[in-house]
Structures are given as C-alpha cells and as structure tokens.
Amino acid sequence: MELNLKGKSVMVTGGGSNIGRAISLAFAREGAHVTIAEIDAGQGEKTAAEARKAGAASAVVAPTDVTKWDSVLATVRDVEARTGRVDVLVNNVGWTLDRLFVEKERTEWEKEVQLNLWGMINCTRAVLDGMIARKGGAIVSMGSDAGRMGEFREAVYGACKAGVIALTKSLAREVGRHGIRLNVVCPGMTMPSSEEEFGDLSMWAAEVNRAWGTPEMQARIAKAYPLRRVGKPDDVTGAVLFLASDAAGFITGQTLSVSGGYTMM
C-alpha cells in the first residue's frame, strides 16, 4: 500500500527516545523530512543520525520544551522555514511516575499535566495555523489505555490522556472542514529495548519506574495482555504511519488501542 509519506514534513515530539524514537525511524524509512522536537538534544541527535541512515529526506533535532509556548512556536517556525510546512505532527511526549495518587507530590502531578496535556495543547495549537492555511494536515497523538479505562497508579496521567482523546475529538470536529485530521493511538506498556533507546530525561530513567523493568513485573504485565507480551516501541509505528498518511483520509477523531488487546471498546 502506498502511504505517500516520502518528502512529507513530520514533527515528532519526544522523538529521540523509546516510542518517539521508533516513530521517527519509521517515518525516516518512508523517506520523510523528520524533525525531532526534543528537550534532550543529545538523545535527539543519536536518533537523528539513525534516521538519516534509515533514509530520511532530512532529520533535524529542534531543541524543544513542549510545556513552553515560546519554545514550541519557535520549533514550528523552524520546521516551516526549513521544509515549508508541517504535514504531520506526532504528539508523542509523555511522562508518568509509577505511584499511587495519594502518594504523589503535587509537583509530580503538575509535571504530568504539563508534559502530557499542555504539551499536546501547545504543539497542536502551533501547527494548526499553517495546516488551516494549506487546507490539510494530520495530527497523531499518543494516548493511553489509562485514559480510556482508568489505571492503578496512573490517576493524573490517565486524566491527561483522557484529555488528549477529548481534545482530539473536539478538534476533529472543528477543523475537519479544513481537511485536517486528528487521531489518537494508545500503546500498551511499552519498554525500551535497550538503554541506548532513551535519554536521561526520559521517564524510563526515573528510579521509581525501573520497577516496571524487572523480569517478574514484565511477566505479570504480559499476562494481563491477551496477546501475552509487553509492547515493543515498533508495535505502534504501523498505526501512526497509517493514520498520518492520506490512506487514512476519511479517519478522524478516532482512538486506536494498539495494546495487545488490553483494552477493547
């Protein structure tokens, strides 16, 4: 199937680590211009080098703090100046700490809201002017089954991801008439395959989250998934490429759980 992503300008937030890295490389293999919007420029550069080898039309790191409007706007203007436009935005940045609601510090909640929800609001707002002017564009945001079903130890994170889904649906209604599509992909628990695949600022570097990576915990999580395994970063790239492409031209406002059957609704 022709996805026609060759030469498209794609911006991936958090595109240096884990799922974001896999998404950047998947667009690279399709021959797209890939902009890795990263707060961790060093990790971003590692992924950009891989993306160039994989066939990207170009792969550039734009140091970006998605929680800061000025930073986001500067990145979008940079992409538009270099490639002429943003055809595809992937809102991938995400963050959580594995703790019960009542045990979390307010500062931790606030960081979750800033990164998971405000990051998506900022980046989406920043690309829409150009997309409306050009009468087209695709936005794919990473949600979570925690935002659809609720999840232990993921209360505020789940609330943010529910926000990502609802914002997607409302905007799909508002901007559908301009030929702009917004959809959400909900990955399952997705572990990086190696330490090389995430930077020091990634949630996977946080000490409390290391508990997820023990063999016992991995086995427990896998048992909860009908497909009987934990997610790999590449599991969602097919869905993201498809939704970003013209092949999905009539699909908007949808949420796809690509999570091994964990959530079916």
């Binding site: 508002e174 599991d235 790239t237 097919g238 490429l241 009539f250 908007t252 949808q254 079916m264």
Partner: protein, 254 residues
C-alpha cells in the same frame, strides 16, 4: 519493521467481494501482495473482480457462495485454500441492510439481516480459525458500521446486527489472541456506494448528510480498503479487538 504493510505471500478470503467496499478491499489486498478468494452470491460479479485482480498481475479466485447457507461455507473455504493456499486473512464483509419502520419488519426479514450480517461472520470465522490456530497466526476483519453505535429510525435490525459485530469481534479477539490471531472491526460511515449514493442524489438530502460529517464529504471504498490492508498486515500485529470508525469524524465515540 521493513515493509510493514506488505501482504506478500499471504492469502485472503473476502465475502461479499462482488461490489462496493468488499470488491475494493479484495482489490487492495491483492495489490498489497495477497492472493485473494473473492466470494459472493453473484458469480458473474466476483468473476469480474477476480479478473480485474489478475489483469493487474495479482492472484485471485472467484467463488460463488451464499453466506447464509452454512453448509456452503466449509466447502468454499476448502476450495479457496486448494486454489490459493491456507487462508491467513478473513474479511467478513457480506451484509445487507433494511430500511423499514420497525412495526412492519417481519420475522423473516429480521432473520435474514441477522443471518447475513452476524451469523455468517461467526460461521466464516469458525471455518478458517482452525487453520490459523494450527499455523499460529491470522487476521480476521469484520465489517461493522457507524450505525452500530448510532440510533437510527427504521434501521433497528441493521443497527442491532452491526452493534453485535463489535461484541463478536472483541470476544473472538480475546479468545484467539494466544494463537496469534488478531480480530478487528472496520466500521464505515457514509461511503460512496450504491445505497448512500442513491440517497444523496437529492441535493437537500446530500446537504443534510454532509452537514453531520466533520470532513464534509463521504468516504470512498478505496479508503475502507486501505484500512483493511492495515488491519490485514503486520503493521497491526499488536492491535486486536478494536473497532475503527471510518466516518470522517461523524461518531467520535470514546
């Protein structure tokens, strides 16, 4: 993942492949590399679908089958497998609709719609699943509808049948996940096929339809076919039990 959307070396079985969305899906699966068994009641139309695939360099087989005749399904699946190889992909597409006030719907009409839209899907899945389980992989795509989540006057039996497709999809997905089979539901909204096209010939009706669709247009069968290719390919190997609405944003259910 290299070429995640390729279906090279795969074999698909598509019901209702004679026209509309089913035909478009059959052609797209073949274009992506699959050999495709095109099944439907109208032999002349599936023959022309298969001929179109072969003319484009693909592999296909036309098969006459009435999905409401349970005894035909096993035999036709066997015939498809001996012609094209073991079935890796089942597309349960055959369906009928009924536009009628509920008080006038007869028992026979109710049974025909449920038999065609729901029972046949279970029977076809049951016919191909043993082979998929033995080989440890398979894809089943059930055609649902936006009407499976909407309440639509005069469409009670059709809406009920399409809502039930979601339940069938989730249960089969949960039951066969451990065998490497993914089961998903492709749910179109208003598409450029015979019935909506006829309804929208009237300008006022057309405007009323389009005003409810955020994309301000109806979908094309080729777009349903692209979603089917995704659902049939390795690109969707970690997705199961899902219903994806292809409706220009009309329903946006949670």
């Amino acid at each position: 993942m290299e070429r995640p959307f390729s279906l090279d070396g795969r074999t698909a079985f598509v019901t209702g492949a004679s026209r509309g969305i089913g035909r478009a899906i059959a052609i797209a699966l073949a274009h992506a590399g699959a050999g495709v068994a095109c099944a439907a009641r109208a032999l002349d139309q599936v023959t022309s679908a298969a001929a179109e695939i072969e003319a484009a360099g693909g592999r296909a087989r036309a098969l006459q089958m009435d999905v409401t005749r349970g005894e035909q399904i096993q035999a036709v699946v066997k015939e498809a497998e001996s012609a094209l190889g073991p079935i890796d992909i089942l597309v349960n597409n055959a369906g009928v609709t009924l536009d009628k006030p509920s008080l006038e719907v007869t028992d026979e009409e109710w049974d025909t719609v449920l038999g065609t839209n729901l029972t046949s899907m279970f029977r076809c899945a049951r016919a191909v699943a043993p082979g998929m389980i033995a080989r440890g992989r398979g894809k089943i795509i059930n055609l649902g509808s936006m009407y499976g989540v909407l309440g639509v006057p005069r469409y009670a039996v059709y809406c009920a049948s399409k809502a039930a497709v979601g339940g069938l999809t989730r249960s089969l997905a949960a039951e066969w996940a451990r065998h490497g089979i993914q089961v998903n539901c492709l749910a179109p909204g208003y598409m450029n096929t015979d019935i909506p096209r006829a309804a929208m010939a009237d300008a006022k009706t057309r405007e009323r339809f389009l005003s409810k669709i955020p994309a301000r247009r109806i979908g094309e069968p080729a777009e349903a076919a692209a979603l089917a290719v995704y659902m049939a390919s390795a690109a969707s190997d970690f997705m199961t039990g899902q219903t994806v609405y292809l409706d220009g944003g009309q329903t946006t259910t949670w």
